[in-house]
């Protein structure tokens, strides 16, 4: 069996608790190298997961290794651009965690470079692999809700539960803050299910953290087709990812992990009761997206989530910060 030889750059908690357990369950991916600023961390992970991987604190060494086909970038967001560009120039296919970078200019450079170097680039928008969200997208596309009008997304978590080592999440320059860290996902889903965003309004606050970064955000977006979206983000709550779609003919609601979608159809008898549409219980989304990445590289498939998606999501995030600072909506 052909396998994808992967080097992981950035051995923080996400790699330790999310990526590596998923990768262990994907036979077509072999983790061959681990890179971290603190090499001991990389070594510990290699031992703990029985990887027998090369460990180093300098990612350029990994990029010189012809045995590595692809890299997974899981470093703080402000470093994504340089690593991705260097990786692309070294001919490595790239899986990049969100957000793509912290500036539009850097994001555009990534897209340009991967195109020039003809390498695959995939964003880590794992919620696109959630069976509930896939079902909602299919139902919207098939016209169940009629003409889509509004979407509401809650992406909530309890940051005190997350064992961050470098605490970059609390450093705005490194791409910290709930909007940078968590906002990418619901913004991407909103674009994927509806259309590209045209107008952005945002308010932010720090509600529970002893920090200068935002931990609570409320966004109001409008797409190019006039659909309205509101997004609530918080690090001060319990874990919950909920989405509702309202159209002219019906309503869809779900939460990730619920194993069903609730649907209401207008103008039918017993329409006040939600229809429960079961979704197939699937593998964890990290496992699905990384498996998809392997197929993209090994079988030359087209990525579901591309650099353009990362760029568009980043545009909205930066516009949201601008809107907060000016207290005005921003037109993209």
């Amino acid at each position: 069996m052909r396998t994808l030889k992967l080097g992981i750059i950035g051995c923080g908690s996400a790699v330790e608790y999310l990526h590596l357990p998923a990768l262990q369950r994907i036979p077509k991916i072999k983790v061959k190298a681990l890179v971290d600023k603190y090499q001991d961390r990389a070594k510990n992970l290699s031992q703990r997961y029985n990887l027998n991987a090369i460990t180093t604190s300098d990612y350029s060494e990994l990029l010189k290794d012809d045995a590595i086909d692809a890299i997974l970038i899981a470093t703080p967001p402000d470093t994504h651009a340089q690593i991705a560009i260097d990786g692309a120039k070294a001919g490595k296919h790239i899986f990049c965690e969100k957000p793509m970078s912290t500036s539009l200019e850097d994001a555009e450079k990534i897209i340009h470079t991967v195109s020039e170097e003809n390498v695959k680039f995939m964003m880590g928008f794992n919620f696109r692999y959630s069976p509930e969200i896939i079902r909602i997208k299919k139902m919207v596309d098939s016209g169940f809700v009629g003409k889509p009008m509004m979407m509401s997304l809650y992406f909530l978590s309890n940051i005190s539960n997350w064992p961050s080592v470098t605490k970059f999440q609390f450093n705005k320059k490194k791409g910290g803050g709930v909007l940078f860290d968590t906002g990418s996902h619901p913004i991407d889903l909103a674009r994927w299910i509806f259309n590209d965003i045209q107008k952005v309004y945002c308010t932010l606050s720090t509600s529970c953290l002893n920090s200068s970064v935002d931990d609570t955000a409320a966004l109001l977006l409008e797409t190019k087709k006039g659909e309205k979206i509101n997004i609530f983000l918080s690090w001060c709550s319990k874990d919950l990812n909920r989405i509702s779609i309202i159209g002219t003919e019906g309503i869809l609601e779900t939460e990730t992990g619920l194993n069903h979608v609730l649907a209401m159809k207008k103008g039918v008898r017993m329409g006040q009761f939600r229809i429960m549409i079961p979704t197939r219980t699937q593998l964890p989304t990290y496992q699905l997206e990384l498996s998809n990445f392997a197929n993209i590289v090994l079988n030359n498939e087209i990525p579901l989530v591309t650099g353009k998606d990362g760029l568009e999501s980043l545009k909205v995030i930066l516009a949201a910060y601008q809107s907060y600072e000016t207290s005005k909506p921003v037109i993209l």
Partner: protein
């Protein structure tokens, strides 16, 4: 509840009536409650009681002549209305067998109506969030109907004293084997009638059943038709006519309490409005033992629930020990839990299970 829903008509019907007499009585009963409102674009579902296939003259199943009269009345108002007869499989017989043996196949051909077997139809699950039923599987096509008419038989029931309109909707549970719901009939019927909510209720009391109903009782020439809008109100009136105090019927008592019905506001109209028949019943001791038997199943199920929750607690404790021993735990509900958050995690889990037990036993 609006006043129209509190109206019930009770009309006499001659002994051994012919089709014309049945139709005339039904028309009279409907006129009394001032409702006949059918349109060409209506899709009307009629639910008879097909029970265990014993014929209507034995007091068991809905007299098909009432269904025929109803179809003719509907078609007089709206020639092109779509009419469906709906019924589910029963543990003794399937709906299709019922349709064949009780004359519905011929009726369907004669009047161009559809016979629907709910058990076999393509279904969706709807989230009911009722007192007992959290969700229910219903045929998708039922969402398209514009009117639902429940046509029940006037019968005693050895477990509940009475079976009439409210109980007729029990036949809309799509699964064939429904006995698991019997111990929870109060809550189940309450939920079913909120979901299906008939627009019109008709009680076939031409020949009722007394004694060991709903299947093994004796026919009684009750000679009445009852029509109403609300299933509970209609059953209260039917019960009184049978000589049964409504609050002696467990699910009627339950529904009256939940819906805060004032029996004094019920308006009974018609030439048999004050009729009082004396349906015989099974010996009180038999009825009591039947009730006790259902109660025992409820207690058994509650006990099982407690053990289920205790099992969850035990499993959680195991997770907690893993958390302490390896320093972290990937929990389906909480994601990653680290050892330094163990106390919060444990407290939360115990609280969840405690409330689950408390709410279930309450």
């Amino acid at each position: 509840m609006d006043d129209k829903k509190k109206m019930v008509s009770v009309v006499k019907i001659p002994e051994e009536p012919d089709n014309y007499q049945i139709r005339a009585s039904l028309e009279k009963a409907l006129k009394l409650i001032e409702d006949v409102n059918f349109h060409d674009d209506d899709i009307i579902a009629i639910k008879p009681n097909l029970g265990d296939l014993r014929p209507s003259e034995m007091g068991c199943t809905t007299d098909i002549r009432i269904i025929e009269a109803l179809i003719l009345i509907i078609r007089e108002y709206a020639k092109n209305t779509q009419i469906l007869i709906i019924e589910s499989d029963h543990w003794l017989a399937t709906a299709n067998e019922g349709y064949m043996s009780l004359g519905y196949t011929e009726l369907a051909e004669k009047y161009d109506i559809r016979l629907i077997n709910i058990t076999r139809e393509k279904k969706i699950t709807i989230n009911v969030d009722g007192l007992y039923l959290k969700s229910i599987r219903i045929p998708q096509l039922l969402q398209q109907i514009t009117k639902f008419i429940s046509v029940a038989k006037l019968k005693t029931h050895s477990q509940y004293r009475l079976t009439c309109i409210l109980k007729n909707q029990f036949g809309l549970i799509s699964s064939r084997y429904k006995s698991k719901y019997h111990p929870y009939m109060n809550e189940v019927l309450y939920d079913l009638n909120k979901v299906f909510n008939p627009d019109l209720c008709i009680v076939d009391g031409i020949i009722g059943m007394e004694g060991n109903g709903p299947s093994d009782g004796n026919p009684i020439n009750s000679g009445i038709l009852i029509c109403g809008f609300d299933p509970l109100i209609t059953d209260i009136v039917a019960s009184k006519i049978m000589g049964i105090k409504p609050k002696k019927v467990p699910y009627i008592k339950f529904a009256i309490k939940h819906d805060c019905i004032n029996k004094d506001e019920i308006k009974v109209l018609g030439d048999a409005a004050n009729i009082s028949l004396n349906f015989t019943f099974i010996p009180f001791i038999s009825y009591s033992l039947n009730r006790l038997s259902l109660k025992m199943i409820r207690i058994g199920n509650s006990t099982l629930n407690v053990f289920e929750k205790l099992s969850n607690l035990t499993s959680m404790l195991s997770g907690a020990i893993i958390l302490f021993s390896q320093g972290y735990l990937l929990s389906p509900n909480y994601g990653l839990v680290k050892k330094n958050n163990a106390k919060t995690f444990l407290k939360d889990q115990i609280r969840r299970i405690y409330y689950q037990i408390r709410l279930k036993l309450y």
